[in-house]
Each structure stands twice: as structure tokens, then as C-alpha cells.
């Protein structure tokens, strides 16, 4: 415990190779470690302090057991100390079982909303092993393969702009194209004088369009 006090998070543990996980010595020989063995490369180390697992790409896992959840506030102090001591991405795994279920919701408010960390529920150690495996996999993939990050939708700007101009009341596709032919950007169109507009679309439309842009 004394070492935990002095070094809450081990320095240097932020560079974990892909497909590897640094595991706190206290997990050696446990069911969870055995379940992970063979799927990923485990490296046991002493003195990880508050952290249970270090993952690639500066993420780490803090594990909250069913007993921790039920027995109260000790784990909260641990999380707060972690948050103050480290800028690693903290992922908290909590055992949400029938016994600890009632504690989950306030813990979620505390961990996610107050501390700004991630909290994921598991019902037992084997689910935890599965999830840890996927978290490591996700962080070991080549950049850009996260489906949710992937390239932004490439919008066809021309088509979008045509749509935007058609949102001006009484302007349809034909009028929009005529306008863009003479005033090729929305900014230019918005600054067109009444006289310039009249030359393109006639008096009635021109005053509509002009007032759309300038009306306050």
C-alpha cells in the first residue's frame, strides 16, 4: 500500500505495444488472467499502483469488483486519485451483478458524469476478459479502421449549394441555377443588389430574394 501511495500510476506504462497488455502483478494466476492468456500477450508487472491493466494507445483499465461496489467508497477514492494523478484514458470496468445492481446507477453518475471517465458493466470475470480482449483489439488496429471515425461523408458541395439556394422562398431549381450562374457563391448572392438580381430573375423574384437576405 505504501508504494501505491507514492506512485499512483506507473510512469512509462503509457507505451504498450499493440496486442499487448501490462497486467498488475496482483492478477497473476487469477481466472481473469487465465482467460486472457493465449489471446493477447500478457506482461505482469509490479507497482502499477491504482491501475489494473495498461492497454495500447494510452488507455488503462481500473477494475471494480462486486465487493468493491457493495462495500462502499474506497473505490471512489481510488478513482479520484487516479484522475488527479494521470492523463491516461481511464476505462472503469465494474461488476454489475444481481447483488451490486442497485449501486450501479449512482456509480455511473459519479464515474462518467463527474469524473468524465468511461464506465462499462460486466457481470462476471469471463465477460470482463472478453471485453478487455476487444478493448485491446480495438486499440491495436491500424489507424483509421474504427467504423465510427472513418472519413466524414463527402457531400457533393455543388448539390448541397443548389439545395441551400432553393430554400429561399419561391426559388426552384431553375431559378437557383440561374442565380448561381451569375452569383456563384452564397456569399456573393447574398450581397447582390436589387438591380443585379432584377437583371437575372425579374422584378418580383428579385425583391423576394433581396428581402430574404436583408430582412431583420
Amino acid at each position: 500500500m505504501a508504494t501505491t501511495q507514492s506512485t499512483p500510476v506507473r510512469a512509462g506504462a503509457s507505451a504498450v505495444p499493440y496486442g499487448h497488455v501490462i497486467v498488475s502483478e496482483k492478477w497473476r494466476g487469477t481466472e481473469l488472467a487465465q482467460l486472457l492468456q493465449g489471446k493477447v500477450n500478457l506482461m505482469f508487472e509490479d507497482g502499477l499502483g491504482l491501475v489494473d491493466f495498461h492497454l495500447p494507445q494510452r488507455a488503462c483499465i481500473l477494475y471494480i469488483s462486486e465487493t468493491d461496489l457493495v462495500s462502499g467508497n474506497e473505490f471512489k477514492r481510488r478513482l479520484v486519485r487516479f484522475r488527479k494523478a494521470s492523463n491516461l484514458r481511464g476505462i472503469v470496468l465494474a461488476e454489475r451483478t444481481r447483488l451490486s445492481d442497485q449501486y450501479y446507477s449512482p456509480v455511473q453518475n459519479f464515474v462518467v458524469l463527474e469524473l468524465g471517465m468511461t464506465l462499462l458493466p460486466v457481470t462476471n470475470r469471463s465477460e470482463a476478459a472478453q471485453l478487455i480482449f476487444h478493448l485491446i483489439q480495438e486499440r491495436s488496429r491500424e489507424g483509421g479502421s474504427n467504423p465510427f471515425i472513418g472519413k466524414k461523408r463527402c457531400h457533393l458541395s455543388e448539390a448541397s449549394i443548389l439545395q441551400t439556394v432553393q430554400r429561399i422562398p419561391a426559388v426552384g431549381r431553375v431559378k437557383a441555377l440561374q442565380l448561381l450562374h451569375h452569383f456563384p457563391s452564397i456569399q456573393e448572392l447574398s450581397n447582390a443588389s436589387l438591380r443585379d438580381l432584377e437583371a437575372v430573375v425579374g422584378r418580383g423574384f428579385a425583391s423576394n430574394i433581396h428581402s430574404f437576405f436583408t430582412q431583420t
Binding site: 472478453q130 478493448l135 480495438e138 474504427n146 467504423p147 471515425i149 430574404f212
Partner: protein, 232 residues
């Protein structure tokens, strides 16, 4: 004004009526129903919340739908939160045992890597409580919704105009609508002015600025646009 406010998509009336009721009655949150087009709740100028039932979320057949939706939200909002809500058990039914799959774990892992905040809820009542917490947090950070959410007449037309700008959210369009007297003032604004008028990030303001200044070239129109514009 000044109280917490959330925008809810009109589809939430049927899919999560209790969420809205609890927000209004228990938590005193103003919930305004709008057609948000592809987003369940807007909680602040920067945060949108997507609500998914656990069965919907964990079914891999919905993968591409989920991916599209989250990508869409990420392109519009600085922050995206996903609430995974337990399915309601109908009277006379026993709750189905939830089977955790590879798909479930890998989807969660990807979402977290992408910076999406994931929350778990056991009911519509709890979802409402979570939304209330989120809206309070955002208010404390001065990002809460402060503009009127109902518009009409000319303002409605202007709102629709702003909404057609790619990746501009409903709340950003509303902010622009209310903070700037005329459209031409926005089209002639600097990036910094768009930041303050739209309550958006610098990056988003730059996107908007570029769009307003983009020079249209009719030759670049795809043949498919000839009929109806569709995003590919």
C-alpha cells in the same frame, strides 16, 4: 428562460413517451419537440444524445445503421452520448436473458475509442434522470440552450436555409437565427463571428464559412443530382 431545456425529436414521442414525461414532470426540464432529422435529443449547443434499446444496440443486423447514425452525429456535434436502455418488459412477459456477444463488446470498444460517451439505463425513467444530469452539467459549463426553440414566418424560412448547410445541427441553426438579425450578416461574417453567433467550435465555424464562400461550378453537378439531390 434560464431553466434547463432539451430538444427532442418528434419520433421520441412514440418511442420514449415516458422519458419526455419524466423530464417535464419530475425534473422540471423544458422539453421542446422538433423535427431534428437524425438525432434523438439535443441537450446543449454541443451535445447530442442518442437513445437505443439494448436489443436494438446489440443486434448486429443494425450495425451499418448505427455506424451511419453515429458518424452523422459526430459530424454535427462536438460531443455525442449514447444511452443504451434496457428493453421494457411487457406485462405477462418474462424479461429475456441478455446474451453478450463479440459484436456487442467490439462495438462498445470502437465507440469508446471514437470518444462517444456511453451510458447504460435500465428504464425510460432512468434515461430521463440521465438526460437531466447531462443538461445540468452542460448548463454549468455555459453551453446550455438559451434561445427560443419555436420560430415562425420569416425566421422559419431562415432556419430552413441554415439547416441546409451540411453538418449544421438544429441548435446551431437556431442560434444563428436568433443571434443575427439578417442572413446577409452571417454570409459576410468572419470565422470568429460565426463562432460567437452560432455557439460553435472554431473548426465548425470554418466549415460554415467555407461553405458560404464556396464557388459553385455547374459542371460539377452529378447526373444523379439532375433529378433529386441525394447524399451518396
Amino acid at each position: 428562460t434560464g431553466g434547463p431545456c432539451i430538444l427532442a425529436d418528434s419520433r421520441e414521442i412514440s418511442s420514449g413517451p415516458e422519458v419526455i414525461t419524466y423530464l417535464r414532470t419530475t425534473h422540471g426540464v423544458r422539453v421542446d419537440i422538433c423535427s431534428l432529422g437524425g438525432c434523438d435529443y439535443i441537450v446543449s449547443n454541443r451535445l447530442s444524445v442518442e437513445r437505443k434499446s439494448q436489443s436494438e444496440f446489440s443486434n448486429s443486423a443494425n450495425r451499418s445503421k448505427l455506424v451511419e447514425r453515429i458518424k452523422h452525429l459526430r459530424s454535427m456535434f462536438e460531443r455525442v452520448c449514447l444511452i443504451v436502455e434496457k428493453d421494457r418488459v411487457k406485462p405477462g412477459e418474462t424479461s429475456r436473458l441478455f446474451q453478450r456477444t463479440k459484436y456487442y463488446d467490439s462495438t462498445l470498444s470502437s465507440l469508446i475509442s471514437a470518444g462517444v460517451q456511453v451510458l447504460f439505463s435500465s428504464s425510460q425513467e432512468e434515461t430521463a434522470a440521465l438526460l437531466k444530469e447531462l443538461v445540468s452539467l452542460e448548463q454549468r459549463k455555459n453551453t446550455g440552450i438559451t434561445v427560443p426553440t419555436q420560430v415562425s414566418g420569416h425566421k422559419q424560412e431562415v432556419l430552413n436555409f441554415y439547416l441546409s448547410i451540411p453538418n449544421v445541427s438544429y441548435i446551431t441553426a437556431l442560434n444563428l437565427c436568433h443571434h443575427v438579425p439578417s442572413v446577409s450578416q452571417i454570409t459576410n461574417s468572419s470565422v470568429e463571428e460565426i463562432v460567437s453567433k452560432g455557439n460553435v467550435s472554431k473548426q465548425k465555424a470554418e466549415e460554415i464559412y467555407c461553405y458560404l464562400h464556396y464557388v459553385f461550378d455547374p459542371k460539377m453537378l452529378q447526373p444523379s443530382d439532375k433529378r433529386k439531390q441525394s447524399v451518396v
